[in-house]
């Protein structure tokens, strides 16, 4: 065994057996061997990358731009609240402006596309109470129009010219409920649907106090369905339900649960706690 080889073995990479070093360095034309090996791996990995890219490309050919191939997971759309917080808790320290200002900022941003001017400019006025279906009519992936959802429909929670900042500065906060978008989902199965909110337990119900909903009754109109996907349904505006809590017992954590009442949306999934419903915590701190 040559001296060189012995040295390499001891200084070879720790993770591979000693032969590894030998492969790389022991040849008399060490440099040639190394570059040969590099070349080999270059070609080999180049080939693998090409192969991978090819199969991925072939695979992506099976995926349409229009609708996903499968939507089995999304049979029941979830519900979600705005303002979006880390742990789905809306905590308002009335005296501490900073504690709720972040929520207000978020809501301002969130509601901007709902401004009546923007809606009027981009979206159609649809007939309420029926689905706004837009078949392709022979033109593949024909761009779809969206229905207007005007910010003013949110009434006291629209935040327009609102000195109370969606009620956050007075301890009567608005929480917005929205239903997850699912392509080609005919929510409500042609019947009207609405969102209702309750305190989770009895004491929560007591502490929750009264609230008002916008639009009235927490109604969601059928005209906002079906959704045709973000690529072709560009200006789609998601319907919202705003809940303004009027007299929540202060300094107590209140568990609120809102659910959608729709014929084809189950809200009792054991595992998915957000299927057709949303639970969040509300706490108004007053001194």
């Amino acid at each position: 065994m040559s001296q060189a080889e012995g040295r390499v073995i001891t200084s070879g990479p720790a993770v591979f057996p000693e032969g590894c070093g030998r492969v790389l360095y022991s040849s008399p034309h060490a440099l040639g061997a190394v570059s040969f090996i590099l070349l080999f791996y270059l070609v080999f990995y180049g080939f693998l990358t090409a192969m991978f890219t090819l199969t991925m490309w072939v695979m992506l050919q099976t995926v349409s731009d229009h609708t996903p191939k499968y939507q089995d997971r999304l049979a029941t759309p979830g519900l979600m609240i705005r303002p979006k917080t880390e742990n789905l808790d809306v905590i308002v320290n009335v005296s501490d402006t900073e504690s709720w200002d972040q929520h207000v900022q978020k809501l301002n941003k969130f509601l901007e596309p709902y401004n009546d001017s923007i809606q009027a400019q981009k979206n159609d006025v649809c007939r309420p109470g029926r689905y706004y279906e837009q078949p392709d009519n022979g033109v593949l992936n024909y761009p779809k129009r969206a229905c207007q959802f005007n910010r003013t429909q949110l009434g006291d929670c629209s935040g327009i010219g609102d000195p109370t900042h969606y009620g956050y500065s007075t301890g009567q906060p608005c929480v917005f409920i929205k239903m997850n978008r699912v392509i080609n989902f005919y929510a409500g199965a042609n019947q009207s649907m609405n969102v209702t909110c309750v305190g989770k337990r009895d004491e929560d119900a007591e502490n929750l106090g009264s609230f008002v909903m916008f639009p009235a009754n927490g109604n969601i109109d059928l005209m906002y369905f079906p959704y045709y996907g973000k690529k072709f349904h560009v200006n789609y505006t998601q319907p919202l339900v705003a809940v303004k809590f009027l007299n929540v017992t202060p300094n107590v954590e209140v568990n609120v649960e809102c659910r959608i009442n729709a014929a084809n949306i189950a809200t009792d999934d054991e595992r998915d706690k957000f299927a057709g419903r949303v639970a969040f915590k509300l706490r108004i701190n007053k001194t």
Partner: protein, 1020 residues
């Protein structure tokens, strides 16, 4: 107290039966206060100690001195109180059984061995992670606790499994060792008595002992009261514990009992010779180090990367666990154990019983076999090999059944010779064996007479009947002064009233008594030329290492010896000279018929076979030549000297291939000289060696980096058996000490079984390589997801639990199935592997598995993963850096590529579908991996795709387990499996085919360009 019984084959050693009991201490058994000395000896279990000759002084002392030393009287013995006192002090007369490792220690060893430490670390990290989580948020999920428990469970279960496997193989051995000695007792010792302790003989009468288990000498040794040799093993006045007394009677004084006997000393010293790690244990350790090294370095590297990418330390710890779990082939060590035990079972069927599972492979890497002669290479029974009569040497059939005796039996001389053989013989078959084949019948009598009896029974038929017809009227038994045996018979010819006197004995003594010789049935005067012919034949047969006997007879004239004549053997009132010489018979312990072939096979397998025997050099050499240990055309230095007629010193050592070295010569050799001897000669016979020298020879071989197998049966072999890399004991003839020291027991005492063992051992090594390559491959496919997850932030492609289901589920049966793979080429035609160069896991294997096939697998599995996500709405581009949002519990409206929104549970379920998809992707490609691992060099089509049916069982098991996991347990959320759409099972198929094709190309180039760069780097 010596009760002399007329039964000549029995021996009564007074009082010795009672040594173990206290109250019957009637005799002269004396205990020697050696306890302190023994303790000291035990402490110094040094090899040096072993190599020293056994220490015993008593044989030099006179009887008076002995009496003084042991405070006893040779007539009255010890008083019972004294005896009781001594017993209390020295313990009963029994060997201390070898120390056993406590079961709990064995069990705990399994719990921390191999990868277990890594997995324990993983489990503890899990619990620590949960601890931190819990500290921050009391409601944190218990996932990491479960994972920790699962990991701990995996370690414990595999530990229990390994322990169970080991215990099972130990149990086989335990039951076996209980069985064999009983057998030995019934058959072999039925007419003999075992000496119960070391005894200084005080009076003897024709006493002969068989010391073969102690010294290896197969010849019975006579015993007397005289002190004849300084070495206690050689002196005649000591009888050793556990040796058997074959004939005569003797009375003696017990000088040592139990562990203090010579045999006890050897046995306990042997247990002090440390067992070296088996080659396969070293290989597995090496492999564990590689894998653990890869796991730990990648783990730590990515821990650092994760921390510097601003991941939380807690998350980084969880990544670390994932990386460790992905890297550790959890099921592999259990698979290796199963594979080894499968081979052990297969070998047990072929009469190789493996005590230590790992020894299965050791035999395969063996490069030198030091074989004992008696019983291993030979049949361990004297057999008539040659006959000389009518001036001609005839060859007798020495095969195991003697069936083919072809020599000329028409001569009148043969008629006379056969009569002498039949009549001048005191050996008898034990009654009640009518149905037993002749060669297997048990005979009462010494080895030579037994040989002659069986020889004549085969050729002539019922010997006892012939003897009955030729009634014996007088007899002088063999003794060492006469060196002949004589008997006088009536003849079976009613018209012939003469008596026939027949004699056999040492040829030269027999010839002295003859004046005529029978040629072609005619009596002729014995002249110088016939005497010369006799001497030539005698020398020739003696030169073959055979024991030669001469036969002669005389018809006593009827007029001088009428029918009523009374023969008196004490006064010898009949002539014992001027007899008629009839012929010579030579006997040898012949080689087993299977041995020459086995030795040739060992040769072609590159294994050097060295004979180490206590027997005489001439006999040893003759047997070595006949079995091929010394091949036909090779000569020793002495042979060359003889041929060229020059002094030995002038012969160039280079010309000689073979060497016969005696113990005396070995004694004077330095270790360097021994090394030189072992390297210079390819064919070596060591004769007349002592147990200590056997150890020296084994060590010499091991210095050459050889893996040494030692075969032996005696207690004297046990140190060498233990020292050897693999000790092979004889199951039938072997002593308990030898079997205890050995790693393997040949149930049929047949050397040829070793060749089978070598073949199985080599095959298992090759197949283990395949198993490990197969198992390591998917580690990359399991590891890459974590790395990509950390770096690119994809939703986790495969979960830790899912990985465990591959490692301990789908992959287990296929990797065992590879153990059933047939050899690719003639493994018995290649050299034994070099234990330091030919590793089980070498660089090409690791690189090819990790960086070639493993990477391909990872890519293939990723394709399946991306397919599932893309078809559900998340295109690959959307997945990048999605991790943080994806995993947030509070995000229940995560947008996909189509603008749809997903709740946390919907995503989680998709993630599990991803796990299942990735799992199926790996599984499908592992099928291809399994098929390509069938061979390392040959094309799969050369090997035969369907020859190994178990592989297909393995493939079926993979698919079935995966189907059950996906469709059967898809609803059990804790397992993280979901029902996968049928088409996803086929997404990885193109990659699987690619793997197969790529490997075929690799093998093709290896076959096309042997020795090329490709061959060196791609052949594992």
């Amino acid at each position: 107290m010596a009760q002399k019984t007329p039964e000549i084959y029995s021996v009564e050693l007074s009082g010795t039966e009672d040594v173990g009991k206290t109250d019957t201490g009637d005799g002269k058994e004396k205990y020697r206060g050696l306890k302190d000395k023994r303790l000291e000896l035990k402490k110094n279990h040094q090899k040096e100690e072993l190599k020293k000759e056994v220490d015993l002084e008593d044989h030099k002392l006179s009887i008076k001195e002995l009496e003084r030393k042991y405070g006893t009287n040779i007539v009255t013995g010890l008083s019972s109180t004294q005896a009781a006192e001594l017993l209390a002090r020295n313990g009963p007369n029994a060997l201390t059984p070898p120390k056993e490792t406590p079961e709990i220690v064995k069990f705990l060893k399994q719990m921390v061995g191999g990868f277990s430490i890594l997995l324990w670390i993983g489990a503890i990290l899990c619990w620590i992670a949960y601890g931190i989580q819990y500290f921050n948020d009391k409601s944190s999920s218990l996932d990491s606790v479960y994972l920790g428990c699962v990991l701990a469970l995996v370690v414990i279960l595999t530990g229990i499994f390994a322990y169970y496997q080991e215990a099972k193989s130990t149990n086989i051995m335990a039951s076996f060792s209980k069985m064999i000695p009983q057998q030995a007792l019934v058959i072999r010792d039925s007419e003999k008595k075992t000496i119960p302790a070391d005894i200084r003989l005080l009076s003897t009468q024709g006493c002969k002992v068989d010391n073969s288990s102690l010294t290896g000498e197969s010849e019975p040794q006579s015993r007397s009261c005289e002190f004849t040799h300084d070495n206690p093993l050689e002196t005649k006045n000591i009888g050793f514990y556990s040796t058997t007394c074959l004939e005569g009677t003797a009375t003696g004084m017990v000088i040592n009992t139990g562990d203090r006997t010579i045999i006890g000393q050897i046995a306990s010293l042997a247990s002090g010779v440390g067992h070296e790690k088996t080659p396969i244990a070293i290989e597995i350790e090496h492999f564990v180090h590689i894998v653990a090294g890869v796991a730990v370095s990648i783990g730590i590297l990515f821990f650092i990367i994760a921390v510097s990418m601003k991941y939380y330390v807690l998350d980084s710890i969880i990544f670390l666990i994932g990386i460790i779990v992905a890297n550790v082939p959890e099921g592999l060590l259990a698979t290796v154990t199963v594979t080894l035990s499968l081979t052990a079972k297969r070998m047990a069927k072929k009469n190789c019983l493996v005590k230590n599972l790992e020894a299965v492979e050791t035999l395969g890497s063996t490069s030198i076999i030091c074989s004992d002669k008696t019983g291993t290479l030979t049949q361990n029974r004297m057999t008539v090999a040659h006959l000389w009569f009518d001036n001609q040497i005839f060859v007798a059939d020495t095969s195991e059944d003697h069936s083919n005796q072809v020599f000329d039996q028409s001569s009148g001389t043969w008629a006379s010779l056969s009569k002498i053989i039949t009549l001048c013989n005191r050996a008898e078959f034990r009654p009640g064996q009518e149905s037993v084949p002749i060669m297997k019948k048990v005979v009462v009598g010494d080895a030579s007479e037994t040989a002659l009896l069986k020889f004549s029974e085969v050729i002539l038929g019922d010997v006892m009947e012939i003897r009955k017809r030729n009634r014996k009227v007088a007899e002088i038994p063999f003794n060492s002064t006469n060196k002949f045996q004589l008997s006088i018979h009536e003849t079976d010819d009613p018209s012939d009233k003469r008596f026939l006197m027949v004699m056999k004995g040492a040829p030269e003594r027999v010839l002295e008594k003859c004046s005529t010789i029978m040629v072609n049935g005619q009596e002729q005067p014995l002249d110088d030329s016939t005497a010369e012919a006799f001497h030539t034949a005698y020398m020739e047969l003696g030169g073959l290492g055979e024991r030669v006997l001469g036969f002669c007879h005389l018809y006593l004239p009827a007029d001088k010896f009428p029918e009523t004549y009374s023969f008196d053997v004490d006064t010898v009132n009949f002539p014992t000279s001027n007899l008629c010489f009839v012929g010579l018979l030579s006997m040898i312990d012949p080689p087993r018929s299977t041995v020459p072939d086995a030795v040739t096979k060992c040769r072609s397998a590159g294994i050097k076979v060295i004979m180490v025997t206590g027997d005489h050099p001439i006999t040893a050499k003759a047997i070595a030549k006949s079995v091929g240990i010394i091949s036909a055309n090779s000569e020793t230095v002495e042979d060359i000297a003889k041929r060229l007629n020059i002094p030995v010193e002038q012969v160039s050592k280079r010309d000689a291939k073979a060497a016969v070295v005696t113990g005396m010569e070995l004694k004077d050799m330095s270790p360097e000289q021994l090394d030189e001897l072992l390297t210079d000669y390819s064919e070596i016979v060591f004769a007349r060696t002592s147990p200590q020298q056997k150890l020296i020879i084994v060590e010499g071989c091991q210095r050459q980096d050889a893996v040494v197998a030692v075969t032996g049966d005696g207690v004297n072999d046990s140190p060498a058996l233990k020292k050897a890399d693999i000790g092979i004991a004889m199951g039938i003839a072997g002593s308990d000490a030898a079997k205890n020291a050995a790693d393997m027991v040949l149930l049929d005492d047949n050397f040829a079984s070793i060749v089978t063992g070598v073949e199985e051992g080599r095959l298992i090594f090759d197949n283990l390589k395949k198993t490990i390559a197969y198992t390591l491959t998917k580690n990359i496919a399991e590891l890459c997801p974590f790395l990509i997850y950390i770096i690119a932030g994809l939703p986790l492609p495969i979960g830790t639990i899912t990985i465990l289901f591959i490692d301990l589920g789908t992959d287990i049966i296929p990797s065992i199935a590879l153990a059933y793979e047939k050899a690719e080429s003639d493994i018995m035609n290649r050299k034994p592997r070099h234990k330091k160069k030919d590793r089980l896991v070498n660089a090409p294997l690791a690189i090819y598995s990790y960086l070639h096939i493993g990477l391909m697998q990872a890519l293939g599995a990723f394709v399946v993963y991306f397919t599932v996500y893309a078809q559900e709405g998340f295109r690959p581009s959307a997945l990048i850096n999605l991790r943080v949002e994806w995993e947030k519990d509070s995000v229940n409206d995560l947008e996909d590529s189509y603008g749809q929104e997903w709740t946390q549970y919907q995503r989680k379920y998709l993630e599990w579908t991803g796990y299942t998809a990735f799992f199926v992707g790996i599984m499908i490609q592992q099928i291809a991996d399994l098929i390509i691992r069938k061979t390392r060099r040959n094309s799969i089509f050369q090997q035969g795709l369907f020859r190994n049916k178990v592989i297909w069982v393995g493939i079926a098991s993979q698919i079935i387990i995966a189907l059950i996991l996906s469709y059967g347990l898809g609803s059990v959320s804790a397992l993280n499996f979901t029902m996968l759409r049928p088409q996803y099972w086929f997404v990885a198929v193109p990659h699987a085919i690619l793997i197969w094709v790529y490997d075929e190309v690799r093998k093709l180039f290896i076959r096309l360009y042997p020795g090329s760069w490709w061959d060196k780097n791609m052949y594992y």
